[in-house]
Amino acid sequence: MDQPTKEQVFNDLVKIIRDLAEDWEFSGEITPDTTMLGDLSFESIDAVALASAIEELYGQSFPFAEYFSQLEERKIEDLRVQDVVDFIHGHLQPAETKG
């Protein structure tokens, strides 16, 4: 299977976010510039759920803890959907190397 494009990753991520956010009734539009905490009302604990859902979808691990820890040195409030897409896409492994 070909490596997902950034656009495909974005669509996957939007689907996951919509599913997760159902519990706090978010129904607005999600764009690449939507901020995770400010616009989507994500809380720090949701990062675990988000990471788990993404890992389940792609069948591989991602270094989310390290990623989020680096973000805290900047302002995590500014984290955009596109930032997460870039991170996921940058760490996708070819299918044959997934463990």
Binding site: E55, E56, F64, E66, E73
Partner: protein, 531 residues
């Protein structure tokens, strides 16, 4: 007819404090059950910690062979960063998957390492899932709505909330105790209501639940539950808090009675705990000790508490706060008391048989064994375990290099406190290695008091009681002496041959064959763990 089993998990239960509660009349049903059951103290895993211990209890395997060592696990093979464990970290069959494989349905509520929920024929509500996303965590998916609509269960209340849970080890302000205790009383009611509904509306052959409120209360409110540890037992606030704690145990007793009644006399009932509990008044701040002894160097802008003492830091706070190039050892989690060794700023990943690695461990062990209380001069560390001693198995590389066992079996602090060893202002509760095991039902030797058994023995004993064969990968043994002689003769223990069972929970693997074992043996040898 299929033989059925009800497993009632009592997190943190110990005969040491349950028997006084029974004598006081707080838990009359438990007293009657223990009297009619075969019972034994239950030796937990090292360290006696909720995720590895419950996982060992439901798999019959030790942590090195099921892969769960702590609440968190390294994010990757060489990473210091830790992420929460999930069901994907658990390898091997559980009681529920074994039961399913033999055509028996199963219900599993509130067990750790069960999220995302495995594909079980029956019902799963994982433990340790934040309430905010528990809807996605139940299996089957429609169970969430059924529990809300048909049983009026507040399903979100079954989840945990990190800010609240941390009070169990960090402590809290006086005025926070009562709402915190009530939170656990109310959450336990919801678990009970959920299970009562399932046992009525959708009964399964194997039904299992963990009631874990006691663990939380025992950590923070030990002196209220065990008056022997209370400085002034007649003090009004103490009496009030004790009353609330006893309310928890009274209600728990009524839940146990109702569930055993629902199960019926033909069902085998097992009560078991992941570990015991006891008091602790000492705090070893492991990273502070490592820094004082030259094994850890904080960066100039590393974390600092001032005079306040803490137990927990987020792992990334610790990692970011290190001068990694000059650090040789660090503790990352306050739960499993683990020490991770570093070489050139990274996790030590090879050369485990080198003089450098072995010498570093020896210096750490010798130093830690000489850590002493400031008031009495007594040692605070009983033993320091290497991972090959306690985590042998295919997953040992996920485990910390060293594990510190304190004299009182308590947990360490990973915070940068002002002193390495301090005496706590207030006695708290901490885990102890001996939990409880009690079994009642058909064929059981009622009233038998057995010697200490291993937590690995619970799963095979349940399988045997259900008339199921014991998979070859199970390390524990059936507690045969819990059963009457005639029953044993009529129901001999049956073992499956190696290769008969899938080895991985997700079914992706096969039973470890001779070739795999040989590969692991070669790997262990290469790492210096086998001669």
């Amino acid at each position: 007819m299929n033989r059925q089993c009800l497993l009632l998990g009592l997190d943190g239960a110990s005969f040491d404090y349950l028997e006084p509660l029974i004598r006081e009349g707080v838990m009359p049903f438990l007293g009657r059950f223990f009297a009619s059951a075969a019972r034994a103290p239950l030796q937990s895993v090292v360290p006696p910690l909720t995720p590895p211990a419950w996982t060992s209890l439901v798999t019959g395997r030790s942590p090195g062979r099921h892969g769960i060592f702590d609440f968190a696990a390294p994010e990757g093979p060489g990473s210091l960063f830790q992420r929460m464990i999930s069901s994907r970290d658990l390898s091997g069959e559980t009681l529920w998957s074994i039961a399913n494989r033999h055509g028996r349905r199963a219900t599993a509520l509130n067990f750790p390492a069960m999220h995302p929920p495995p594909a079980v024929d029956g019902c799963v509500i994982p433990g340790w899932v934040p309430g905010r996303w528990i809807r996605r965590a139940v299996r089957p998916a429609e169970l969430f709505d059924r529990l809300k609509k048909e049983a009026d269960v507040q399903v979100e209340a079954l989840g945990y909330w990190p800010d609240q849970e941390s009070k169990a080890i960090e402590g809290c302000r006086r005025e926070e105790y009562e709402p915190w205790i009530r939170l656990h009383i109310e959450r336990e009611r919801e678990w009970f209501r959920a299970l009562r509904y399932l046992m009525t509306a959708d009964p399964t052959d194997l039904t299992a639940i963990v009631f874990d409120g006691a663990d939380k209360l025992l950590h923070l409110c030990w002196t209220s539950i065990d008056p022997r540890s209370a400085p002034e037992p007649s003090e009004a606030p103490f009496v009030h808090l004790r009353g609330l704690c006893l309310q928890y145990f009274r209600e728990l007793d009524s839940f146990l009675e109702a569930l055993v009644g629902l199960a019926g006399p033909e069902t085998t009932v097992v009560m078991a705990s992941d570990h015991g509990f006891g008091p602790t008044d000492t705090l070893l701040s492991l990273n502070t000790w490592l820094a004082e002894n030259g094994f850890l160097v904080w960066a100039s802008d590393g974390p600092h508490n001032g005079e306040a003492e803490r137990v927990h830091y987020a792992t990334h706070e610790i990692i970011r706060g290190l001068d990694r190039a000059r650090t040789q050892a660090v503790a990352l989690m306050p739960s499993a008391n683990g020490i991770w060794l570093l070489k050139d700023g990274e996790r030590w990943r090879e050369g485990f048989d080198s003089d450098e690695y072995r010498s570093l461990r020896v210096r750490l062990v010798e130093g830690l064994l000489d850590a002493r209380r400031p008031d009495t001069g007594e040692r605070v560390v009983r033993r320091v375990w290497t991972r090959e001693e306690i985590f042998a198995g295919p997953f040992f590389e996920r485990a910390p290099d060293l594990t510190v066992e304190l004299v009182d079996s308590g947990h360490v602090s990973v915070a940068r406190n002002s002193r390495a060893v301090t005496v706590r202002a207030q006695v708290m509760g901490c885990h102890r290695p001996l939990g409880v095991f009690a079994i009642g039902g058909p064929g059981v030797r009622g009233g038998a008091q057995l010697g200490v058994r291993s937590i690995l023995d619970v799963a095979p004993t349940i399988l045997h009681a259900m008339g199921l064969p014991i998979p070859a990968a199970v390390e524990g043994h059936v507690v045969e002496e819990a059963f009457e002689r005639d029953w044993r003769q009529a129901h001999p223990v049956v073992h499956e041959r190696a290769g008969a069972a899938p080895d991985a929970e997700n079914g992706s693997g096969e039973e470890m064959d001779a070739q795999s074992r040989e590969q692991i043996a070669r790997r262990l040898k290469a790492l210096g763990y086998m001669g």
